[in-house]
């Protein structure tokens, strides 16, 4: 081992070595990028699934509420009930023939 031959510059060696294997570097970087992408996508996917579940739950709750509202509405608007109410409270009645005026619009 002589002195001049031992005069290595590590940085230069690394640089030349890397320069010789550019393709490997590209592959390496691509692998890292792809791994990161997988992480990000998985995360996003999970977020979406969580949202999806929340929305489904919300939909189910709304559906239940809708069903209850239908029952309430139909119970309150039952025809015989309405008829009784308008007769009692609003003093209304069904129009008779005498109340009706038929209008024929000329075509």
């Amino acid at each position: 081992m002589t002195k001049p031959s031992a005069n290595f510059n590590l940085v230069i060696i690394i640089a030349t070595d890397l320069g010789r294997h550019l393709f490997l570097i590209v592959l390496y970087l691509a692998t890292v990028a792809s791994a990161l992408a997988v992480v990000v996508t998985t995360h996003n996917n999970r977020q979406l699934l969580i949202t999806h579940e929340q929305i489904i739950q919300e939909k189910d709750l709304l559906d239940i509420e809708w069903r209850h509202l239908i029952i309430e509405e139909t119970a309150l608007t039952e025809h015989n009930r309405i008829e009784r109410l308008v007769a009692d409270k609003l003093n209304m009645r069904r129009p008779t023939q005498a109340d009706e005026k038929l209008v024929r619009v000329k075509p």
Binding site: R46, L49, I50, H52, E53, I56, D60, D63, I64, R67, H68, I70, I71, T74, A75, E78, H79, N80, R94, P95, T96, Q97, A98, E100, K101, L102, V103, R104, V105, K106
Partner: protein, 600 residues
């Protein structure tokens, strides 16, 4: 460069006292540590190798146990909520709706294992909220051999919350659904009901059970530590429940039910039925019976009130069938529209029996035969045609077959086909005895007349394909001629002036028949009024049947006719059909658009 070379690098300064005559640059110390080095190296390799082996063992050779352990902690199966389909009327108003409810059940084994029965106050509270006896409740759950006992089905959400807070070990809640019928008794005979497990038992609920039923979808998911779903592993799509739209118009249905309910009470009748049919499409707009029942509270339901009488019960219809004799004669050609029939002296002998009118009506036109409901007139008309032709007429008008509505328990009437008919039997057939038909069959017959002779199958489901095709069974001219004749019935001097509807021309026919009992005819009556309105542009056919009126009024002209009138006037108004009676219509053509708003 080997590992040993690296280890050699930090060269120790030569010890001064050492002398061995070798090159001072050479170091002889490594000789001593060589074996140690290999031991350490071996140990390190062993550590890594065993780690690698362990990892391989866990991951490759026997991964199943741990995968299962992990899955137990993260994988869950979740049901997608699903409910039975809705039943709606033709305008989309809901007649049957499912809402979620919960069932309380107990696992007696868990209760015994955890000695939950010792906690008496909680069980007392549970018994109180379930409205049962404490001892009976304990009896039901105190049997460790069982694994499942329903404590109560279909409880309210408030009760569910209470039970959840009681937190008794071994008592759990389960999701289920409860069916509500907002229209209650008004539509119960059509819609029917389901049992507690959501299986249809009656009416449309039973007929279209498979169509309405859904199976819940499932999804296997992976959840994270907070219980959120982070991965859907597999999804199983269940059968979606289909909705069912009926041809019923709930407004007319409510009106019709109210009218016959009142009629049943006023005339002290055993039962009553009404059916309203759209003459052009054969769609049933309303179908109601009394006695009815409330499908929401089935503890009070009797078997006899569940029967859909308009479809299942056949009666001898009486004079309601008289238009058929006239139609048969017109179609056969043995009578013309202006034929005059001599009915004097008001009775005649056929074989050994007498056919008679209430009084001697003398010479009658066909219109008057209908107007005064002359038995003599229809008998003579019926006997004037070939009997095969007469039978064919009854068959073609749908009095001997299903109506096509395909409803549960439908009867196709009672009629004895035979080779030989006596003249008296043919004559009784002409005024509606010797054949039994249902209310629905009558409605179809009148709808056919109103539809200008084209027979439509009755339908109850909107948009359903029928097996039967529309069929022309009468000539249009004769159908409308008889329609005009029937109008006289509701006019001055007719048998059913109370069936008249102000503002509309209404055609119809009464039928007051005596009910047959074993060995002859009894003392009970059936009152029927069947009609079509309006005459100038037929839209609906309505049949009202009042069974066994026990009050002072027992003639159809005074019971079924006014009920008919009430239903038809309301129904025509709701369907927005213009009045056609000449006296009622005040035709004033308007010139300017501005006056339009004052019109109604």
């Amino acid at each position: 460069m080997t590992v040993s070379a690296v280890l050699q690098k930090p060269r120790k300064p030569r010890k001064p006292g050492k002398r061995n005559g070798r090159n001072p640059k050479r170091n002889d110390a490594p000789v001593m540590v060589q074996w140690r080095f290999y031991v350490v190296l071996g140990a390190v390799v062993m550590v890594f190798a065993s780690l690698a082996f362990r990892a391989a063992y866990i991951q490759v050779i026997k991964p199943d146990v741990l995968i299962e352990q992990g899955d137990n902690r993260t994988i869950r199966v979740r049901d997608n909520a699903s409910y039975r389909g809705l039943i709606t009327d033709r305008n989309g108003q809901q007649l049957a709706v499912s809402v979620p409810a919960q069932a309380i059940y107990a696992d007696p084994k868990v209760i015994a294992d955890k000695s939950a029965l010792l906690d008496v106050p909680r069980w007392r509270a549970l018994a109180k909220v379930l409205n049962t006896d404490f001892d009976r409740l304990i009896d039901r759950v105190d049997n460790p051999a069982q694994r499942f006992v329903y404590l109560q089905r279909q409880i309210t959400p408030a009760m569910a919350t209470f039970v959840k807070k009681l937190d008794i070990p071994g008592v759990f809640l389960r999701e289920e659904s409860k069916r509500y019928y907002p229209a209650g008794e008004v539509s119960s005979h059509i819609v029917g009901f389901t049992d507690v497990d959501d299986n249809g038992l009656e009416g449309m609920e039973r007929l279209y059970n498979d169509w309405l039923t859904s199976t819940p979808g499932k999804r296997r998911i992976r959840r994270d530590a907070q219980g959120r779903q982070i991965e859907i592993i597999e999804q199983e799509v269940g059968k979606q429940a289909e909705n069912l739209m009926l041809t019923i118009d709930q407004r007319i249905q409510a009106l019709a039910f109210k009218a016959i309910k009142e009629a049943t009470a006023v005339y002290k009748a055993t039962s009553a039925s009404v059916i309203v049919v759209d003459v052009h499409s054969g769609e049933i707009l309303a179908l109601a019976n009394t006695p009815s029942y409330n499908p929401n509270n089935r503890e009070t339901v009797n078997a006899f009130s569940v029967r859909n009488r308009a479809m299942t019960d056949a009666f001898e219809p009486g004079s309601v069938l008289k238009p058929l004799a006239v139609l048969a004669a017109l179609e056969f050609g043995s009578a013309q529209q202006d034929t005059i029939i001599d009915t004097s002296p008001g009775w005649m002998r056929l074989g050994g029996s007498r056919v008679k009118d209430s009084r001697n009506l003398g010479e009658l036109s066909l219109t008057e035969v209908m107007k005064y409901s002359s038995n003599m007139g229809t008998s003579k008309l019926a006997l004037s045609v070939r009997k095969e032709f007469l039978m064919g007429m009854y068959y073609n008008m749908g009095l001997m077959s299903d109506t096509g509505s395909n409803m549960l328990g439908e009867s196709s009437g009672i009629f004895h086909e035979r080779q030989r008919w006596s003249k008296f039997e043919l004559s009784t057939l002409s005024f509606g005895y010797g054949i039994a038909v249902t209310t629905a069959q009558l409605a179809r017959m009148y709808a056919t007349i109103g539809n200008g002779g084209i027979k439509m199958p009755l339908s109850i489901i909107k948009g359903m394909e029928t097996f039967e095709q529309p069929e022309r069974v009468l000539s249009e001219e004769n159908a409308y001629a008889v329609l005009e004749m029937l109008e006289a019935v509701t006019q001055e001097g007719g048998t059913a002036q109370e069936a008249a509807v102000p503002g509309f021309r209404v055609a119809g026919k009464t039928g007051t028949s005596i009910k047959a009992v074993a060995g002859g005819y009894g003392e009970e009556y059936v009152n029927i009024f069947a009609g079509i309105a309006p005459v100038s542009n037929p839209q609906i056919a309505v049949v009202v049947l009042i069974n066994e009126p026990a009050g002072d009024l027992y003639h159809a002209g005074y019971t079924a006719a006014p009920t008919f009138s009430a239903i038809v006037s309301g129904a025509l108004q709701m369907l927005n059909i213009a009045p056609d009676a000449v006296t009622a219509v005040d035709v004033k053509p308007i010139e300017s658009e501005g006056q339009l708003h004052a019109a109604r």
